[in-house]
Symmetry: C3
Subunit: 500 residues, 3 copies
């Protein structure tokens, strides 16, 4: 008997050791937290009707762990930041009803649905119930105000309307006929967010019979600065897509790449062609994207966007390398997404509050002077640079890191100079009557100027930040900066004065 | 003894449970179906000579399962659609000889090879032996006629010849010197397919000695509308590449991305930058791409191209969400690959049979009117839209889905308007003698017009279909549509009348 | 007892069979080679300080196997090529100190660091201790001379300086103000390599206190032709990034894609959209990227860059299909990265030694004649073509392969003709005074000429080599070649003679 027991114990041990390894790469986990009766009702009905929603949620941590269990983790391992959770939420899975019934009073999109009061849109203000710190950090970021920052800034507003308006041709001239909400929602606001309000009710015919549901404006949308029916700002689902809310997704570069991509903000593309991106693409299947905290050199061996910009990182000794932040600019000192030129990060996420010397809500003036009083000072820049260098030093020596940063700053300065050169040519063209400055975005030479800073100078700056050689060279880099200036100069030289 | 047996049974159970999980992600399976003596002879010789072919085939379902076994599956799980299989094929693996010896009589590429009569090219007509329904569906699709649709349409033909002809400069003018078959095969026909015929025999020196083999024209090629030496149309290997014929490959977006990509048909690129693409890229390693039927929320948690466009889908209750179709347009109602403008899907896959009001085989006239009698009607459009919405609703609510489709249709309409504006400018330029309309594709302003619809308007339409924000905005989207119109207008305004 | 033993044996066998499968996809291995006391000291200190470096190295073969063990492998499986290893290195892991202390005398970057003499940069001359053949092959390649090939060639040098210089506008003219080392290092030299020398010492404040370290010029850099502080050429880390030195990384296409990418050298992009790339992307998670030798059809089922260009390949019978080479041009006969035109591969990696009929160090003259005496002859071209075809034939028939190569050569010829046409137009423009030939790279029509060969003709050639249909068609292919010629011609026709 003893021997049998021994065999059994030994084999069981081997299996217990081996089994987790077998499924480590799978998201599916077998433990489920208890479901509230309300959520059980949702699942029973929606399981067949919306198998994708239910299946995705079943794969999520929300289905596995109750808030009470989540709170018992040691601090660094904790995935929720609120220190107390309402009693009725704490002992059940974070199910359909737990999220879609929160803060009913503030939700103009709340409606009666088979006996339950349901919100259509779950908002950051709801997520805040468990994820307080994250939501508070987010609210101070530029992301939360991304829609306001476009809409309340007349310059950006003019750019949006010039581009996404529909055009017709009358008397051989291109004329703008309309600017639809759909066009804005499909382009700029897809990332920046829309204003979602309830404009009434509508009847839907579903396979379960007719239902009356709130009719929402500018919906669907997952933009980072979405204004929600409860008045809150932002959409956690931009990066934590429903209904898996997976950390793995948020930590992978494709998530950021939805909006931060070529040609205007080629962060994803530069990363993809960088050495970091190369190692990530080659090896990430072997890494751990679920670990909290995230340990450098153990859980991953090259950074993703989240590593450098916002994740909680620890080193091999368990010490904190960088604190988590959901203000995604918190580790950034210079803003390289040049408008028109690079500049220190704004103090507030509400960039429409800035006023530059031209009287406009832009961080730099037309000819380059920064609106300093609205931007972080040298000390704050240094502090943030130190945080970022701390991340780099997880894998790179101090000398390497410092040299890298020196080159980065020099390249950013050169890209600004190349943008400035195109501004001078544009002023020249305006002076000669070759273009009309009343709308600085609607004529070909003006659009060349926009390309110079929004596409080419941005590419060079991002390439310098993350080491993508070709985005600084032939792919929207120095090559295009140079060619574009030559084309602008030639146009001015060869074009007879315009008679309007 | 009993206890031992119990231990053994328990552990075996655990192992049997665990083992499939361990290898679920691997394609290699251990069971092999019996090989015919002919195929064994092929393998014996080609194993060393073409290890890749044999190794790939060994990984395939064709090597694992006999048609007879395949037929025993429940209907929804079945991967073959023919209900009876010729006796001599049914009890052996689907090996080299089984496929390469079929329908010898119709194969002009049949040749004697070490005592066997072998076809060089295996065609849809051969695959039809087991996959009858799929081939029949395919034959009605635009894909099957993709080569004819180019060659038999004088407008497309002129575009192809203008672009892929080699050019020289004589008397300071660019002149076309030749249009090689190779240039066509490398560009348009690489995707559309070539006409493969037997032009004779040729001697090959191989490491096995000299061999005489059929000499084929326009070979190799895997285009979807290939015309084969047996007179059949299409190439199953376009999406099910030899010799693994893997469902996993066909269901992954890279397969479609070979031909449906930026700049003219940016379906793959839009998908890649969309939320669906983001989730796919982040999590697909954990999904099941081999399951038949394919269950929403269980086997995958975001769609690939195949999910929405042709796969057999079931929900968590085992009910069919959408039927499989190998007519890849079967779930499509509007054709957003604008030629020049969007239009209802054509009734027949043979688009060269269309006649529009200009007398040309195009679905819309030069100024936009649709050739309605050749296109599907409202009822059919509605029906197909319902099928597609059924797929969306696997993961999205009815209200969400309907709002999404409303926006999509509005954006398509705007992209059409922007294409129309460029048509009006082109007409204007022709009228002023700034370009010569005899060939509408060979002068710079005409090529701007082509870009407007073939690249920019298409990008916007695809972005609206699959939610890629930047392909609607700065990346070949509204930004380029707008800039291109401004450039066209400026060219017309600034250019003195052309004297030829 | 016997039965128990039997059960135990059976189950153990099953487990032993199953366990490797479970972890095959993980890089982490459990066996570690013994560490030298010096390397142990490095690890003790740097483990927390640089967790990424240590963690990466711990995942590497260098941490698992001593050189002595590595030498015991059968020849085809061996990963080191030196036949004898210095005694003190042979019985310990290839640790920090083993690499960073080699050849101290020749290392101008050697410095005293807590009692140890350490080189900052580990160079090919150090790696050569164990990897002799690889380094010797590499030294003869164009890669090793990539920096010299740019710097010592006045034509390329002029192109670099024209593009990456910073520009200003004075008197309405674009003027070049400076060319910074940083700009060159960020663009061309990021891939080509920089010259790293020691310019002095600098003090660093680290979390371990102040340290004095060598101050290096043009650092950091991992370009393939880097000139190192010990006078050696190259950087093994370009493709085998520190400190994992993973074969898996080097064999995946992302590594090559860092430098060989769109728009000028779209090798990676063409591969990605090709059938090979499609299969790779769909299935590579199931393949073995660690096996040496690399067996066609068993370890992989579609090639990556390394497969065709340099890896040691065997077939299913264990026979060598192609020998390993670290001269990455060794299997290439024609150089399709056209400068300006395609040409036979140069005999020497030092292309700056070439002299063409214009007296310039370019493989072809301005109008196309090759500098034949510096290029490989027909026999050598044939030989290399046979090696490459041998690789293709691992998966493709002889007839297929030969037809493929025929088409490839024809397309390359056509791309050359299209480049030549633009050269003729440029000569025309120069003749009419519409541009000034003193610098052939700085005016818009000259930059169109550069695009014609460097971007568009290159795209077509790469597309023909690796079967990417759209890079030959609309994406920088025949479409752009054609449009660019039309634009050049129109510019010449419409522009009044330039008065300077």
């Amino acid at each position: 008997m003893k021997e049998r027991a021994l065999i059994f114990a030994a084999l069981t041990a081997i299996l217990l050791y081996a089994l987790p390894g077998m499924t480590a790469n799978k998201e599916a986990k077998s433990n489920k937290a208890p479901l509230s009766s309300e959520s059980q009702a949702c699942v029973d009905c929606h399981k067949g009707f919306h198998s994708g929603v239910v299946g995705d949620w079943l794969s999520s941590r929300h289905a596995m762990v109750t808030p009470e269990q989540a709170l018992q983790k040691p601090e660094l391992e904790r995935r929720i930041s609120s220190t107390s959770i309402p009693e009725k939420l704490s002992k059940v899975a974070v199910g359909c009803y737990e999220c879609h019934s929160l803060n009913e009073k503030t939700h103009t999109d709340n409606f009666e649905h088979f006996g339950y009061n349901i919100n259509v849109v779950v908002t950051p203000n709801d997520c805040k119930t468990c994820h307080k710190t994250e939501v508070e950090q987010y609210m101070g970021s530029k992301k939360a105000s991304a829609l306001d920052n476009l809409q309340k800034n007349p310059v950006y507003h003019a750019l949006v309307e010039t581009i996404v308006s529909t055009k017709d041709v009358k008397d051989n001239k291109v004329v703008r006929t309309a600017v639809s909400e759909d066009a804005k929602n499909q382009t700029c606001y897809a990332c920046h967010g829309t204003k979602v309000t309830v404009k009434g009710k509508k009847k839907l015919s579903t396979s379960f019979g007719d239902a009356e549901v709130p009719e929402l404006t500018n919906w669907p949308n997952q933009g980072v600065g979405r204004i929600n029916p409860d008045g809150s700002y932002g959409a956690c689902t931009s990066c934590h897509p429903r209904h898996g809310f997976s950390l793995k997704v948020a930590r992978k570069p494709y998530t950021c790449g939805e909006c931060h991509l070529e040609p205007d903000i080629p962060a994803y593309n530069v990363y993809h062609e960088s050495k970091h991106g190369n190692i990530y693409s080659s090896l990430n299947a072997d890494w751990n994207f679920e670990a909290v905290p995230w340990t450098v050199g153990k859980d991953f061996r090259a950074p993703t966007c989240a590593t450098c910009h916002n994740s909680l990182l620890t080193n091999a000794d368990g010490e904190v390398v960088a604190q988590r932040s959901h203000d995604f600019g918190a580790r950034l000192w210079v803003r390289i997404f040049g408008l028109i030129y690079s500049h220190p990060q704004p103090k507030s996420g509400k960039t429409y509050e800035i006023k530059n010397k031209d009287g406009l809500p832009l961080p730099t003036a037309f000819t380059g002077e920064t609106a300093s009083s609205f931007l972080i000072d040298q000390a704050e820049q240094r502090k943030r640079q130190d945080v970022m260098q701390g991340v780099c030093k997880g894998c790179h020596g101090t000398s390497w890191t410092e040299s890298y940063f020196t080159k980065f700053h020099k390249i950013v300065e050169e890209a600004d100079a190349m943008a400035k050169a195109s501004t001078l040519l544009l002023v020249n063209a305006w002076g000669k009557g070759l273009a009309d400055k009343s709308n600085p975005f609607d004529e070909p030479i003006e659009q060349r100027w926009v390309r110079q800073w929004l596409i080419y100078a941005n590419s060079v700056r991002y390439a310098a930040a993350m080491q993508g050689p070709d985005y600084a060279a032939f792919k929207n880099g120095y090559w295009e900066l140079t060619n574009n200036l030559a084309e602008m100069e030639q146009f001015i030289r060869l074009t007879p004065k315009k008679k309007k």
